[in-house]
Symmetry: C2
Subunit: 554 residues, 2 copies
Amino acid sequence: MSHFLFERHHNLLQQAVKACATRGYWSPFPEAPSPRAYGETANDDGKAAFEARLNRPFGLSQAATAGQVGKEVSPYGFELGITYPKPELDRLFAAMQPAAVGWRKAGPEAWVGVSLEILHRLNQRSFEMAYAVMHTTGQAFMMAFQAGGPHAQDRGLEAVAYAWEELRRIPNGAYWEKPQGKHDPIKMKKKYTIVPRGIGLVIGCCTFPTWNGYPGLFASLATGNAVVVKPHPGAILPLAITVEVAREVLLEAGFDPDVVTLASNDPSERMASTLALRPEVRLIDFTGSSQNGTWLERNAHQAQVFTEKAGVNQIIIDSTDDFKGMVRNIAFSLTLYSGQMCTAPQNIYIPKDGIVTPEGHFSFNQVAAAIGDSIVKLTADPAKAVEVLGAIQNVGVIERIEQARAIGKVVVDSQTLAHPQFPEARIRTPLLLKMNSVDESKIMQEFFGPISFAIATNDTAHSIAIAEKGVREHGALTLSAYSTNDAVLEQIQDAAERAGVALSINLTGAVFVNQSAAFSDYHGTGANPAANAALSDSAFVANRFRVVQSRTHV
Amino acid sequence: MSHFLFERHHNLLQQAVKACATRGYWSPFPEAPSPRAYGETANDDGKAAFEARLNRPFGLSQAATAGQVGKEVSPYGFELGITYPKPELDRLFAAMQPAAVGWRKAGPEAWVGVSLEILHRLNQRSFEMAYAVMHTTGQAFMMAFQAGGPHAQDRGLEAVAYAWEELRRIPNGAYWEKPQGKHDPIKMKKKYTIVPRGIGLVIGCCTFPTWNGYPGLFASLATGNAVVVKPHPGAILPLAITVEVAREVLLEAGFDPDVVTLASNDPSERMASTLALRPEVRLIDFTGSSQNGTWLERNAHQAQVFTEKAGVNQIIIDSTDDFKGMVRNIAFSLTLYSGQMCTAPQNIYIPKDGIVTPEGHFSFNQVAAAIGDSIVKLTADPAKAVEVLGAIQNVGVIERIEQARAIGKVVVDSQTLAHPQFPEARIRTPLLLKMNSVDESKIMQEFFGPISFAIATNDTAHSIAIAEKGVREHGALTLSAYSTNDAVLEQIQDAAERAGVALSINLTGAVFVNQSAAFSDYHGTGANPAANAALSDSAFVANRFRVVQSRTHV
């Protein structure tokens, strides 16, 4: 059965491997939530499936449960009322042990075939997933569909493709014949068995539970490891559905479904740190705060730890040949999902003497004001605005907006909007502040949410220096730059390479610095404090398995 | 120049890449110290070059020196009298900074081309290196030549080949065109720049300074990192020559030679731990004690840490169809370089009721005695014995032999032999003890040196269980097994896979469990406490560099 699955998805795998190597645009999972791609009734069916989940226990066959947990609240203003099995950890790991043995022995084609089938079925569930992601993360429907569904599936597939590329490079065996001059050669046969590390732990976040969770989940699974998925207590449902699908495929393929399990907890409990120190856990994939990520890196010594943490994303404005396009693009980047993206910009560096554009010189204040105006325009119509803004995931973000106001001078204040469909939804427009000079003590911390700073620098060289230092010391997932001057762009490119951050140059159209496309954009570099790994590359997968060799004379 | 070097060695690189994938026998560097391979005068020249090094400062152009250090003593009984530049660390790293920038910008073909040229020139210096290795490690000449020269060069080349395989998979750029239905597609061009982690630190050992040092050195160098080589104070010369050659090649290729530097210290000073915590150091390759290796893993948070530490290597004897061959093979394994190999066996498990052989039943005592007799025979003629035994690297090993005597019943005692050529040489034959039952508190620590235990177990199942537990808890680089029973061999294979250790089966001829051949045998698995990495595989190289991308609209 599992061999059948490998054959079934072999063509997809080959395409994915090729896409990783060439890095042009490619996606096998349609990103448009259209009836043509997903079927006439897909939206209605997905919505109904989501609604059927509400106000009841989430059925999951897994062993070792000790009651039910779950207190998810939709950022659109209602309790989901879903409970999930709470695991008793000793028994959970005891149940996973024999499941992991069967999985280990199945070998690379089974691991990859099952992983690809899970992704295929997740794709079919993209509408249900979209509603689950929307009502846990607060993303607007379109983003919830795309980032929570096909784009997350792309990222999962990408990890499987990288895993396969490393797995297939290990031969099953070898014949070794060493010449001995006039004597007979020494002849040996060797066998190479790929063995997984053990159990992988995926620690999910509350904003992109699938997009950030799938790379680690599928990288571990496709390299033969059993996996415990530990969702953020605020966004359990998307990963619970994922685990449900994974278990269904495992069972059908003849495996013990406890190869993939869910470990849910209530917001009041701590579970991740306990799980992370279990001796059975040998791989950890974490998305969350710098504090927790750094703790894992320094304390979970028994495991390989892959972290995506916080950072301060920055934009350097030097000059532009499309002022309106630049301003609109930046404003949209700040507005999209209310800045609750790990890739959203925060610090915008503008020379204090202003910039040159085709429309003439714009002062620092004019540039800041233009970005502010563009935000206002984007969010003027609440019905349209909420489709970009989504809702605020948690009250912590609301509090952060309140606190941030004191830091600079308000260019555009954050507004509360009423959602036409969900009157209780937490909707906020972006807060844009300006600072007339660089004050590192204020700007070099992450203000996660719709909070950004227009910061006056001495000149572009100063902007570059501040940005490079910011990346090195505080981490960043993105750096964006606007300049018409090739020499300046070269300096910025150099700074990005030195500091180790992905750079977007002169984005004035339909691509935003927040966006990272699987198979083409590396998400994170692993070279600055915001993340110790990139999604995805060889380093993300190659150490999730080991090779045990045996040799004997022929 | 560096591009020329890449072209020059391109064919060698392609062969090495292929060898890593197919894992049959391959070596480009002749292992026989023969005039035909290395030239009529190669031995004399190498010896003269070594002797010319003695009793004077080692000339090295590197910056930031603060006096001279070095107190190496040949295990064959004379002081080398060589001193090396002692680095002033702040100045050393300051000097390496600009060197590292030039190296980073040179790119993968330059990194790999220069690395291959260094290996090529090291091969030409194999005789000089042999004497340097012999008179620091105590290895006999033949082993010093092979393991210190061509086999170490093989391991270095293997690391370069793996590095190249990962580097070449990153395209320089990509064209990304995303369809937009009826609208024009979005078109972007992307650039991917490979950037090194920073500075690599290689911490050498005193027994195989080049064999164990080259994989990390070349893996870091070939991925664009500058490297500080920190030899063990007891075996500086082999790595000093290596650094000298590397600097010579770098200079000729137009690079600042401070891309590769030497950091030597006297035995009374501590330097490795200070170097390891330098913020500039982002990669550490360590060979040495478990205590120091674990300390690095847990404290050098700023770096990727690759360790090879101590372990307890084990042999399971169940049955054999070649008793004499088995006994001779094991005795040789214990005698070779006086057991001072990280791969040398220590614990030999034999069922208390003995084993079945073609010559009939042999009791536990008879098996132990036969191994002992074989050791005696192998070491009976001092002139021949010293060519297998080599000398004892340091007095710590001598003391360990004395202490070990108390642990079990002596089967064969360790003898002091006189070296015919070097009267002051520290020569000891193996000590073989027997224990009539398993006492984990005694046998589950590494007795590095010519110390081994014949241990009576209840039966082979007990032997397997003890061996598996030993690997899991204490680590091992090798496991060896003798059985004529396929079902037993399958159980042992299973145990090896569960515990994560390389297995050799029924070695009765000219291959010994101690030996690990580049391009075919993975040295270490990275899956048990003896080592957190394998030499070499993708995981050993893939995280030594990162990718910085930039993107802009077309």
